[in-house]
Every structure is written in C-alpha cells, then in structure tokens.
Amino acid sequence: MESCQNLSMIRYIVRRLLYLVPLFFGILIIVFVASRIAGDPIALMTHQNPHITAEARLRLAEYYGLDKPIYEQFFIFVWQLFQGNLGNSYAIRGGTAVSTLISDYALLTFELQLSALILSLLIAIPVGIISAKRQYSKLDVTVTTTSLLGTCIPVFYMGIIAIIIFSFFLGWFPAGGANSILVERYPFGSHLIDSLWHMILPTAVLTFAILAPVVLLVRSSMLEVLRQDYILAARASGLSERTVVYKHALRNALIPVVTYVGLFFGGMLAGAPITEKVFNWPGVGRLFVEATTKLDFPVIMGVTVFITIMTLIANLVTDITYGYIDPRIRLE
C-alpha cells in the first residue's frame, strides 16, 4: 500500500513537471517578447551622447545581437541558457555576466526574505494559537487589531516610517544598504556585525509584514479546528488540554498555513523589489527593477529565469507537501 502511494505520487510529480516545463518556456517567451516591445535599449544607452551616429547604433545593435529577427534571438537565448550562459548585462556594472550579478545579489535577497519568513513564523504561530485559545480577551483583540492593521499598511510605507523613526529621529540603525560604505564605520570594526546591524531594520519591517496575515490565518484556522467534533472527542477521552491543543488541533490548523507559506515562498522573490527599494538593499528585486527600467534584456531574462524556476519549484513542493499532510486530499 505504501508503494502504491509513492507510485501515484511519482506519477503526479512527473505529470506536474510535464506541465510546468512548457509553462516555464511560455513565461520566458512572454517576457522576452514584451521586453523587446517595450523599447530600444540602444536608444536608452546612447541618447545622452550627442555625437552618436545611426551607423554606430547599428553596430551596437549588431554587437548585442539585437538586429536579428526575434525568433532567432530567442533561440540563441535558449541555446545559451542550456549551456548555463545567461549572457552579459548591457548597462549594469559595466557588462558583467548576468549569472555573476544574480549570484551576488540573490544571496542578499534570500538573507533578508528567509530571515524574515522564519522569524515571522516563529512569532506568528504561537501568537495565533494563544490568541485563538483566548478568543475575545484583551490580548486577542490587540493581536487581531494590530495584525489587521499590518495587512493594510503597504510594506514600503512601513519601511519609510521605520526609517523615519529609527534611523532619523532615533539614529539607532542605518537607513539603508547592506553594509556601511566606509570601513571605519563598522561597529567594533567587524564586517559581520556591520552586516547584521544593517539587516535589523529591513528584516524587522518585513517580518511584521509577513506575520500579520499569518497570525490572522493561524488564529482563524485554529478557531475553526477547535470547534470540530474530534477535538470534543479528544477532550472527552481525558487528554490534557495541552495535548489536545498542541498535538491534535495544531496539526490540522497548520494545513492552510503550510499552503500559505508555500505560496508565499513562490511570491516572495517577486515581491522583494519593494522592500529592497526602500532600504536600498542590493538584492535581486532591486536588480530586476533597475534592469527593467534600463531595458537591460539579458538581466531581465536572467532574473526572470531565476525567479520563475524558484516560483515553479516552490509551487510544486507546496502541492506535494499539501498532499502529504492533508490526508483528505489523498483520498480524493
């Protein structure tokens, strides 16, 4: 029976992959074509140069391969992609390889997003549970109100307020960036502490932004589960309240939370640009915004490939995990 389940799971994964691969290429095509329709990067690069000739522009276009028909450009792109070559940027950091750019910046984005996600889960789940257990108490009301506000405040506004209060009025934390520009400014002369010091404010803001909806979700899910018959049965059979809540109720209540976190994983990379802009955090999000503004095609495509792969994997993993932990799905 166990192998039966595993086989159908493998079949499911294969089916999903067969579906996700064309989807991946579909997204690539869409972004590829759209970015080229959006304008001419050569014009952007050269418009400040009064001496540029049409001939020079043509030569630039040839150099970047932009004079070829679109489908040919796309084939070249895919061909290079399979070789692991994402091309070189047009305008960012003097034409460094896109893969270098992404690997440099992605680490920082992950640092920020993962820390925030983990922290917020560590806080949100217990708070949500306690809030549910003590429904309508003062604690519950405070928690729900704060969380509701948290879902309504735009992340970048939270960031701006945080910067105003903690950076300018109080002067406790730097206003942005991942590290101080001047080495002399490192607290205690340590690069590590400097990095952590810069991370505190953006992480705190992002954590709050993430935990607000999660707290509400955990709380409502918990309330729903605690109303179920099997909880009453568990209590009636003499189990301690602790076991009932933390062992039985929690497991079921966390199912929608897992789904949410899984989907969030997929969306978090896409949402990074906002926080990164406010705090001037050198991450993949900021890179993408810069590249899209400058019509830097290789970077746009490179980041798209990266984020899309991550998103698709995250969705696939969420699907599988959801199938594992919710037995009701398996029986369908």
Binding site: I27, G39, L149, F168, G266, G267, I274, F288, T292, L312
Partner: protein
C-alpha cells in the same frame, strides 16, 4: 429581543392580510451588518474617501499641478496652516495632492476589481458548473496565471504599456487593466469551489428535473447563491488593487502623469530624510482606505454568511 419577523399582528381577525416583513437573506444580513461596528467604521472610511474624490476641487486649497510654494521659496516646508501637510521639493501642497489622489485610488481600486472579478466569476461559474473538459481547460489557464510571478510580469507589461500607450487618464486606465488582468485567477478558483458546492444542492436538482435550461440554472439559481462570496471577494480585491497600484507606482512603473498616492510616495522616498511629511501623509491615506475596505469585507463576510445563526 423583539423579532421583527413573521407577522406584524396576530389578531383574531384572520381576514387581515398578514405581511411577512424582513426575513429575506439580505434583510438579515443588513441587520447583522448594522450591528458590526468595525464594518460600519470601514464603510464610513470608504464614504469619506469617496467624498474626497467627488469634491476634491472644492476641498483642496490648491489645484493639482499648481506649485504654490515654488516661487516663494517655500519648498519642503513642514506642515503649517498654509500648507496642511507641508510642501514637497517642487513646492506642491501635499494636502491638495493627497486629496486629488483619492479619486485615482478609487478609480484603480474599483476598476481593477471590476475587471478581475468579472473574469473570476465567469471562469468560476462556467468551470464549476459545466465541468468536464471545459473545467479542465479553464483550470489549466487559471493555474498559469496563478503561477506566473505576479510583480515581475506586471512590471514588464507596464513598461510595455507606458512605452506604447499615451498617458494621462489613459495611463492610469492601463495600470488598472494590467492589475485586473493578472489578479483574477485566485478568486476564480475560490468561486469555482463554491459553485461545486452549490451544484450539489437539492434545489438545483429540482430545477433540473423540472426541465430548466442550463443557462437558467446557472444564472438564476447558482449565481445568486454564490453572490455573497463574490461580494466579499470583490471588496477584498479592491483593497488589494489599491495596494498593488501603490506598490507599482512606488517602484516607478505607474503613470507618472497622474496623481496617485503611490506616486507621491515614490517622490517622497528620496526626501525621507528632510521632509517626512511628504511620505507619511499619502501612506497614511493608503493604509486608511485599504483598512476601510478590509473592515467592510470582513463585516460583509460575517453578515452574509448563511451558516451563521442569529
């Protein structure tokens, strides 16, 4: 508690026509809604912003593109009696700008939600009711839209639009359209789920056995029962659309010629150090409006839920 329920009078004169008052689902919902203070607060906030949107020219002391502080050297001054929210770098009165931004926020919110929800309802209804291949195909399409990295694709498409289309009101409509086009998928799935649930009801079976056409069943029987969900989802979608527009404008991909609160925040981002009032006030209004719609949406959900007993 006095139940304004069934009959007005119980008199021995059975000749009197007894009218049933106030027992429809909507009446019950309205009564429940009225008692919910948070929901009423939400409605009040929305009403306030709509009021700002309609009477913006009368409320704002200066006209939208006017820079009253520019020539008199009053750029970047803090809030005062003359400039309620202060001025920005070019001398605009922040208060006037915020007031004029109300209309754009409402436009984008309602517009994008209208587009997204129309698509979601259509897909959800058809997919849920007809099932089979139609359901399969529509659900695949929905999945595509769900999996695409939202902000990423939105930014790219907005760049295309701003390059191709004119701006002004046109620009903002484009932003609204884009947000609407990429936001329908999640709700389509939810609506489909509800349609599937309603489909199993006995009154649907009864309609079918009476020979009602599928179209009639879908529009006259299924849809009204999904309506309560649609209303709640729409309200929440409006809140979402406003936040998305703000985010997109903040990143610089919105319509630079229209005044939206997101645009104001974008300009304020550079000025955070010197002029906190440039960013704080527009952001406050965004939060307020989104809060209003969220409270309203939650209130509507509690009021319209047919499973809650009074």
């Amino acid at each position: 508690m006095k139940r304004k329920g069934l009959t007005k009078t119980m008199s021995p004169n059975t000749n009197e026509k007894k009218r049933a008052i106030g027992v429809s689902q909507w009446n019950i919902a309205w009564r429940r809604f009225r008692k919910n203070k948070a929901a009423l607060a939400g409605a009040f906030i929305i009403g306030f912003v709509i009021f700002l949107g309609i009477f913006d020219a009368l409320i704002a002391p200066y006209s939208p593109n006017e820079s009253p502080g520019f020539y008199v050297g009053e750029t970047r001054v803090p809030p005062s009696l003359k400039y309620l929210f202060g001025t920005d770098a070019v001398g605009h009165d922040v208060f006037s700008q915020v007031v004029y931004g109300a209309r754009s926020a409402l436009f984008v919110g309602f517009g994008a939600a209208a587009i997204a929800m129309s698509l979601a309802v259509l897909v959800g209804l058809v997919s849920g009711y007809y099932g089979g291949i139609i359901d399969n195909v529509l659900m695949r399409i929905t999945e595509i839209f769900l999996v695409i990295p939202f902000l990423l694709i939105l930014l790219v498409f907005l760049k295309v639009i701003t390059a191709v289309a004119p701006s002004g009101v046109g620009g903002l409509s484009m932003v609204t359209l884009m947000i609407g086009i990429f936001s329908w998928a999640g709700n389509a799935r939810i609506i489909r789920g509800e349609v599937l649930r309603v489909k199993e009801s006995e009154f649907i079976e009864a309609s079918k056995s009476l020979g009602a056409t599928t179209r009639r069943i879908v529009f006259k029987h299924v849809f009204p029962n999904v309506l309560h969900l649609v209303i709640v989802l729409t309200t929440l979608m409006i809140a979402n659309a406003i936040l998305t527009e703000a985010a997109v404008s903040f990143l610089g991909f919105g319509d630079a010629n229209s005044i939206t609160w997101g645009q104001l925040l974008q300009r304020a981002n550079e000025a955070v150090k010197e002029a906190w009032w440039e960013g704080v006030f527009p952001g406050l209004f965004i939060t307020l409006l989104v809060l209003g719609f969220n409270l309203l949406g939650n209130g509507l959900r509690d009021a319209l839920d047919p499973r809650l007993r009074e």
